[in-house]
Amino acid sequence: MDRPSHLSVIVDLDPSRWTALNLPQFISNLLAFLNAHIAAKHENTLAVFGAFPAKSVMLYSSLDPVTDVPPSDANSYPPFKLVDSTVATRITRELELIADDDLEGWWFLSSQLVCPPISVVSAPVALVGALTKALCYINRLTIENNAATANSGDQSLEPVALPDPRILILSVSPDLTSSYIPVMNSIFSAQKLKVTIDACQISGSENVFLQQATHLTGGSYICAERQDALLQYLTMALLPPPSVRKTIAVPTQDKIDFRATCFCHKNIVDIGFVCSVCLSIFCQPVPVCSTCRTKFPIKTLQRLNSSRPPLLSSPSSASAPGRTPPPSSSARPSTTPRPPATPSTGGDQRQLPRSAVNGHAVGQ
């Protein structure tokens, strides 16, 4: 099936992470990858989003009207040149802005791609923001696409989803536990839009949330073990559109870490305690659900506390990140929902379950 496909790439550009890595080399690999996507088909569309500390920016969209055309030369294909120059200049500009803000003009910055030192950038990277923007963008494309094809007067045809929309996340950051709920919400929107999410962890440890995102949307997750082979990783595993993956398979996870984060301390938990009313997850038995204010009987609490594994039996307060147990390597969901505590008589049930998200996350 030879149909055009859409690709939205989200690049994690946390300057503090990139100091240890070779950013210029990564950018040139990225550009070659983007060009390969456009090269495959004249009608392929592309959008690039950058996730910066506390900020997400759309770096390039192939549907945007071209404003500053790079001078054409005889040795390069104009669309490639446009992507390359737009993406590279915008990344440089954004990184300079960050550096300027944080350093108060203290560092001299050339027009080269530079990374400010670690200490200055502390805000978490806005990966979720970029993901949401990418989803909104695809949604807009789908609507426009439908509007364009709906004028045939034949209303019986169902709205045509955009062919093969994909999101590729190139991440360098570890899991940001506070963003668990927004990530899950994004995953469910992606499922609804029939968007495949692919992810590549370029450095650092495995990213649990991205693993879950790719698994739930049928995408591919890879962890680039060798920096110098990044382009080959990208090309082989993440370039083929879903239709080609039926013939040439791409690596998927056989082991997925399905753990969720608790709502109270945003820790990734092995054993969670789920509110029977709103399905919120807690790392320890709580007398009152913080989400829906349901009160649980003291007996249930005692029973739950006594049945916890001895290692974790002492409920500590805000637990340090180090306390999180190592990732379980079972494909089986490891968030074991305990038998739900019966809500106390007349437990406040006015509030509806918060969202389907929590239910799904636990029900895996």
């Binding site: 099936m1 054409s72 030369d73 004028n151 045809l157 013939t247």
Partner: protein, 478 residues
């Protein structure tokens, strides 16, 4: 989009169809191809013409320095995709893109370096076209101007084909185009009369405009071979055009002699625009820049109403809401038109009108698909078509009914069937006759027999056997 077209697309997706140009490239010599692969723009364009799986194989190998063992890549192939994958490798080998297969998996080194260069930019090949200096006095034609120019040229060709032999006198395309049309068998002349559309030409009209263009260009390439033009230069110029930017002017200075000669031909087809025939700059039109894309990006039809639809009643009356002369002319091929209004053409499909179309040399297959092609023809002209009854919503059965009727009319025409063969007669005795006849029946070559007259008629392919049988018999017996 109407149902018939949708159906066709699904069929296409099941069997990967190759682009029309690839078979032509496959028969070229390895030497010619590797000269062609020296140009990054050609590599990029050929890459685009490949099927999706073939493209992925190329990309997988593109950035590798050393060859891969075939088993490494085939480990990635799913069991269902195995046959498709093997076919893809064969195609790539035939195109000489894969080198040394099946011993090793590696790209042709020329192709590899050129495609790399295309993706990363740089180099000094100049294969993407040298832009012309901006001339303030004579500004280039804008995109709309180029579109209408291309459309005018292209529709002139189609219109000429459609209205040939109908007594109308449409604008004649240039002699070069006329020659190409006749040379390619899309139009033929009978006894020195005006060229008439042939069966192949009718088939051509039913194609998507993109396929039509490639069809003509392929004929052009065949002709270029005969005219002793350097095929590599012709091809690389076409590919260069396909990677150029719409609305920009390019300089002719760096073109070779062959390519300069091509400018005139391509101008006639509407692929590029020049202010004056000997101008030193040219602008590619949308027809050229979308050569390697698969969708028909032809600018939509002329006139204000670029969209319209057809109402087909069960009494074979046709109401076509269009004001495009080309569409009207195509309809006129098999519909007898009754009234013509500014935006509406009314006609009916009758036995006579279909017979007229059949007499124009349209073959059986084309005729049986005519009812559907009626819709398809118009869709290719970017007109959303809706088959529907005048009073209740469309059902595909109407189209089928019509199709059956057309087929019946077509059968009427073919009451007589001719077949070449031999009449065996003057057998000495009834026994002789029956003996030979039985033998012929075993071979299944008897077309007609008459035992009273002791003769039968056998088809051409059985003759040698029957003859030797009779000879052996008479030889053995006598």
């Amino acid at each position: 989009m109407p149902a018939p077209v949708r159906k066709e697309e699904e069929q296409k997706s099941d069997t990967p169809t190759h682009h029309a140009l690839l078979p032509f490239l496959q028969v070229q010599s390895a030497n010619a191809l590797s000269r062609l692969y020296q140009s990054p723009s050609s590599c990029l364009s050929i890459f685009r013409l490949l099927a999706p799986v073939e493209r992925q194989i190329v990309m997988n190998l593109l950035w590798l320095e050393s060859a891969m063992t075939p088993s490494t890549l085939s480990a990635w192939v799913t069991p269902e995709g195995q046959s498709l994958y093997d076919e893809s490798l064969v195609t790539l080998t035939k195109l000489h893109i894969l080198h040394n297969y099946p011993a090793k998996l590696a790209l042709n080194s020329t192709f590899k370096s050129s495609l790399r260069q295309a993706l990363t930019g740089g180099g000094t090949s100049g294969s993407f076209g040298v832009p012309a200096e901006r001339d303030e006095k004579r500004l280039p034609l804008d995109v709309e101007g180029l579109d209408s120019y291309a459309l005018e040229r292209w529709e002139t060709i189609l219109h000429f084909m459609v209205s040939s032999g109908t007594g109308q006198n449409p604008t004649r395309p240039s002699p070069g185009v006329l020659y190409l049309l006749q040379r390619s068998g899309l139009m033929g002349t009978h006894h020195g009369s005006l060229p008439q559309i042939t069966s192949a030409g009718f088939q051509f009209l039913l194609h998507q405009s993109h396929a039509q263009l490639w069809n003509l260009l392929l004929q052009y390439l065949h002709m270029a071979e005969e005219r002793q033009m350097d095929l590599v230069e012709v091809l690389s110029f076409l590919f260069m055009l396909s990677t150029m930017e719409l609305g920009k002017e390019y300089s002719t200075e760096h073109l070779s002699q062959t390519q300069k000669a091509m400018l005139e031909d391509l101008r006639d087809y509407g692929l590029l625009w020049q202010r004056r025939p000997n101008s030193r700059r040219f602008s590619p039109t949308r027809l050229a820049t979308t050569l390697t894309s698969s969708s028909p990006d032809l600018p939509s039809s002329t006139g204000a109403s670029s969209s319209g639809f057809i109402v087909l009643e069960t009494n074979y009356r046709v109401y076509a809401y269009t004001d495009n002369p080309l569409q009207t002319a195509i309809l006129n091929l098999f519909v007898s038109l009754k009234y013509r209004f500014p935006n509406l053409v009314v006609g009916s499909i009758t036995r006579d009108s279909v017979k007229k179309a059949l007499n124009n040399g349209i073959s059986a297959d084309q005729a049986s698909g005519m009812a559907l092609s009626l819709g398809r023809t118009l869709t290719t002209r970017a007109v959303p078509v809706d088959h529907q009854l005048s009073d209740h919503p469309c059902s595909p059965t109407d189209a089928e009914e019509l199709q059956d009727q057309v087929r019946l009319w077509e059968l009427e025409k073919n009451r007589m069937k001719s077949q070449e063969g031999f009449l065996y007669t003057a057998f000495a005795s009834q026994a002789d006759y029956e003996f030979v006849l039985n033998y012929a029946k075993q071979l299944d070559v008897v077309l007609w027999e008459n035992s009273q007259k002791r003769c039968f008629f056998g088809s051409l392919e059985g003759h040698a056997n029957i003859r030797s049988f009779i000879e052996r018999r008479s030889g053995g017996g006598g």
